[in-house]
Symmetry: C2
Subunit: 324 residues, 2 copies
């Protein structure tokens, strides 16, 4: 098959994935064109997933790799309070990759793109020693609704949009057989393979002046809350870690403390928010009414710096591409 | 060194590279924000460069790899008639890469970014088996000034913004010692290592209603003019191939026909334009006055399909990631 034929197949998959109303000129020219909203700021984020570093093919099918990569990229827009508009996709692949495997990457990311109303408007293809998927997403947000990491104040309540650790539990279940009940195993697998970026939740928080800071939990609560606290020039205290029930079971079977397992669990893509203390009860009530699940209180921002859990400083260890 | 320390060094290099007036929020949050122009369309393009596929470290220093990658990405904006605004940079690198080598990639791309008034507003870093650099650029263009590949008509004159083949000549000179005179060798090396995207020229053509189609010559005239002709549903005849004098010398020393050498030479990043025949003399006179060098007539668009050179069909062979 020639590159032109493969590109035609990719375009067909992507064209079927949505409406593309905002795209004035899509795939096939030197650049794609769109009409930005006049009343919004534009937002952009780039996310890279490399085989052998972020995933292996034994861990999940390539369709899930595509879906997760698009989900991770869109989650960064959700965390700014932005709505997605379009994406570009650069895929590098080893010479021996079957064309249908490549197309599976696009099928997966197109599935997430359709659900999130993202048009894939361009990209690039190349050979490379390892499958490498780089997705850039563009979105838009009203200037008054922008939520950064740096707006938190001492005294703000910290909360997350859902219990943590399910995707990490799903990952452990792909690595070894564990006697977890079926329903929990299914939930963990779903979290690993098809987790949804929290776009509606991001929009909800973006519209509230009482939400002072927001980011997504992609590297684990310990690391990401640390980032929010640092950016806001605050300390943070974790009072309770909301552990997903599948994560609790898996951690227990592995002989790990469930809270610690969930603290270090990334890629759940829940949002972490800081909320003015006097408004927390009101915001969390409205959240529960809107999303039919509770907003989970995690802790507080305070004066100073550093992260505390169970009364002791919490090491923010996590994946580091330079010390790996 | 930790990832955070490396990111701080990268930010310093990028911060020094420009004014960033248009960027409302840069590197360091989940997404970067900017204020798009109210009167323009936004444009986006993604370009990937992989070690061992697009470049080798013996071919050129990593600083040039960065500079060329940014130049190639910005050239796609030039070819739409767009002005650049910002870029994101995803860099994957092998474990044993020295930090200073990585920073060299950013030093090179920052140099090109400064010259082209592009702010690097975000990106990603990861380990990978081969150095892989993915750059996404965003620009903007007045709706009335957009030039696509598909606007050409039978009868239009085809021209390029400069002689072709210098970068390919430079590449050959990195591979083998050839008895080329010093001035030509320097020009070829300059074309390979520091070629400039034709932003001013793209803007000039974008403002002219007599320019019907445009793209950049990144894969060689044979392939790229073929793309313009196909997209415009036209045939194309190449009457003369403007060969860079360094390319002529190198091709002759290699025993190749200079015109054929230049036809297959990519990465010069000259622009290819289609111009209404009655306006060609006027446009080329204005071009010469503005840029102090001639607009070079290459051939014509005609009815039908396919590419003709010297009275015979021209095979559009070129790099294909799937048949490579």
């Amino acid at each position: 098959m020639t590159e032109d034929e493969v590109v035609r197949k990719i375009r067909k998959i992507l064209d079927e994935a949505g409406e593309h109303r905002r795209i004035a000129l899509g795939i096939g020219d030197d650049a794609a064109l769109w009409q930005p909203s006049r009343s919004h700021r534009s937002a952009i984020s780039t996310d890279m997933q490399v085989e052998g570093v972020h995933f292996t093919r034994s861990m999940m099918p390539l369709r899930d790799v595509g879906r997760r990569a698009m989900g991770a990229a869109v989650s960064d827009l959700a965390a700014m309070g932005a709505r997605p508009v379009l994406a570009t996709v650069a895929l590098a692949f080893p010479r021996q990759t079957a064309v249908d495997d490549l197309l599976d990457v696009y099928r997966g990311l197109a599935e997430c793109a359709r659900r999130c109303a993202v048009s894939v408007a361009g990209g690039d293809l190349s050979l490379a020693p390892a499958l490498t998927l780089t997705i850039t997403v563009v979105g838009e947000v009203r200037p008054s609704n922008v939520k950064t990491r740096s707006g938190g104040h001492a005294g703000d309540v910290v909360a997350v949009t859902g219990p943590l650790g399910a995707a990490r539990a799903g990952l452990e279940l792909t690595r070894q057989k564990l006697a977890v009940d079926e329903r929990q195993a299914a939930a963990a697998e779903e979290a690993l393979r098809a987790s949804q970026p929290r776009l509606a939740e991001g929009k909800f928080f973006a519209a509230s002046a009482n939400v002072t800071a927001m980011l997504d939990c992609s590297d684990g609560l310990a690391i990401d809350l640390g980032r929010l606290a640092d950016a806001s020039a605050c300390a943070a205290t974790i009072e309770s870690v909301p552990v997903h029930e599948a994560a609790r079971s898996v951690a227990t079977l592995l002989g790990e403390e469930p809270e610690r397992f969930a603290l270090g669990a990334g890629e759940d893509y829940e949002l972490i928010v800081a909320i003015r203390p006097r408004a927390f009860a009101h915001v969390s009530m409205r959240y529960a009414r809107c999303f039919k699940r509770p907003l989970l209180r995690v802790g507080m921002l305070g004066k100073g710096s550093g992260l505390t859990w169970n009364g002791a400083p919490l090491e923010r260890s996590g994946w580091d591409h330079f010390s790996a």
